[in-house]
Symmetry: C2
Subunit: 306 residues, 2 copies
């Protein structure tokens, strides 16, 4: 949509991206490393790991860490754990969303879904266990400021809980009528917002100025997902397509049409960038937003069809 972003994507990868990616993977591995005895049943352990380490763009934890970096990142271990928690909660929601009684998805991120490999009971328990792990590994940090840990926990609760979080978003799909904006805000925007808030809180900063940009990025992501669902090649997407239409879900693609949805994606990127606070470190978040939206654009055949 504009040259600046195209250049950013074509150019050398931002070194910070790679460092952040490494921090995220280490933090996720650390979350699983629990010194407590008791033992994890092997099938459950395998299902949990498949849910978390089976690919995925890690966009939400990147946002969390980028905001922490923009705010000085003075407690990186807490920021890492916050980013891991965001991703664990996201993965948990995907595992449950793929279940037969929801999307009945056979593939996710190019691989068979957790319930197809490990069975439905193990998939349900793996999702449950990932939610618990997300919160618990934060509570286990004993060298970080307790007040900040609790702030991160509150942000995550808001991002996933029944009152406006991901779970509310999934549950709006069960209602005969749902407002598209409210549905998207809960299903996707809320965890993006929580990621940014958690990053700011982990770094001891006021989270308020980051909320709007995060919500806009989350909405952009949802619109891109609607477009991908309607148009993309399933091999390229790594999951089944046109499920939203089959399931009668509110979709930006259906509502605005192909061109309208694409314009909306661009408008949301602009809104996210404009909403960023004028702090010294904002550049790192700005680059992340530009790069992420570029990656969200439909590619190949799908783009040609638009």
């Amino acid at each position: 949509m504009n040259d600046e972003r195209q250049d950013g994507v074509a150019g050398r990868p931002d070194e910070r991206d790679g460092l952040r990616a490494a921090r995220i993977e280490r933090a996720l591995q650390r979350a699983f490393h629990n010194p407590r005895s008791g033992g994890t049943p092997p099938r459950l352990a395998a299902a949990m790991r498949a849910a978390v380490f089976g690919g995925g763009g890690r966009l939400r934890p990147h946002l969390c860490l980028a905001v922490a970096q923009a705010c000085g990142d003075d407690h990186p271990r807490l920021a890492d754990a916050a980013a891991a928690a965001v991703e664990l909660l996201h993965c948990a929601s995907l595992v449950h969303d793929d279940l037969p009684s929801f999307d009945d998805a056979s593939h996710r991120r190019g691989r068979p879904t957790v319930h197809r490999v490990f069975g439905e009971p193990a998939a349900i328990l793996a999702g449950d266990a990932l939610v618990v792990l997300a919160f618990e590994q934060l509570a286990r940090l004993d060298a970080e400021p307790p007040g900040r840990i609790l702030g991160v926990l509150r942000a995550l609760g808001a991002g996933v809980g029944h009152a406006g979080g991901i779970i509310a978003g999934q549950a709006w799909e069960l209602e005969p009528r749902a407002d598209l904006a409210r549905y998207h805000r809960a299903k996707t925007g809320a965890l993006f917002e929580a990621a940014a808030v958690a990053g700011a809180v982990a770094a001891g900063a006021d989270p308020a100025p980051w909320r709007e940009a995060a919500r806009a990025l989350g909405e952009a992501y949802q619109v891109a997902d609607d477009i991908a669902d309607a148009l993309a090649d399933p091999d390229e997407l790594g999951k089944a397509v046109q499920r939203d239409a089959e399931l009668g879900r509110p979709s930006a693609f259906d509502r605005f049409g192909p061109r309208g949805a694409l314009e909306r994606l661009g408008a949301l990127e602009s809104r996210a960038l404009a909403a960023l606070p004028a702090v010294a470190g904002r550049g790192v978040v700005e680059r992340l937003i530009r790069r992420s939206v570029a990656r969200l654009l439909p590619a190949g055949r799908a783009a040609a069809a638009m």
Copy 2:
């Protein structure tokens, strides 16, 4: 099994029991009262409330509060939230355990199960949301000592998580072989232990001396549940019976026989009582254990059959 307990049960109800019961219900209601906007989809809200307010003995939150009381209960609001969290996590596990891919239970606590009333997707989401709520409502307490809140959160994580908690217990049922003691410790003992630890931590006390008694009470509860499942009248129990045998689960009843299981229940009560620490307030927990085990004994026809 001994006269003292029978007297305790037949005599006037302990006033503390009633006060604790009222505190537990108030704390559960408070957990649902979330000032955040965003809105909860109506079906999800109804499913969550049905899971929590549909009866139940509240034994685990009683244990949590009784231990807090025995330890001085200097932060009752935190103890209340800890007790509520224990019950929310327990209810979440029941909702998921009743799902078609687990027990496929039609009734629980004398009523149709959550998925039978609200559908499977709403039941899965309600369980998820209750887990989140359990942690979140603790993180939201802003007038309680943050270090204690985090200690309570860690105890709860251990009680329900993949490494030895309830979820591990449920997942052992998916394994071809499971050690009976380890299975019971995870499936039931762990949350009893977490309840006692959370109560002690909420009151600023060392939780270690309470662990053993709580584990023994949890095991007693599991043995009683095995006996009930094998023998009880379904109308009296409020749920289907003989499911454990049908599902090929390890059961104390199958392993020790009717008389052996009953003796084991008595031995576990004695072990729980003997393990109580010699603190001034231990009487309140002692009475709770005696009363609870008496209530767990099979009644009527079932007892006669033993």
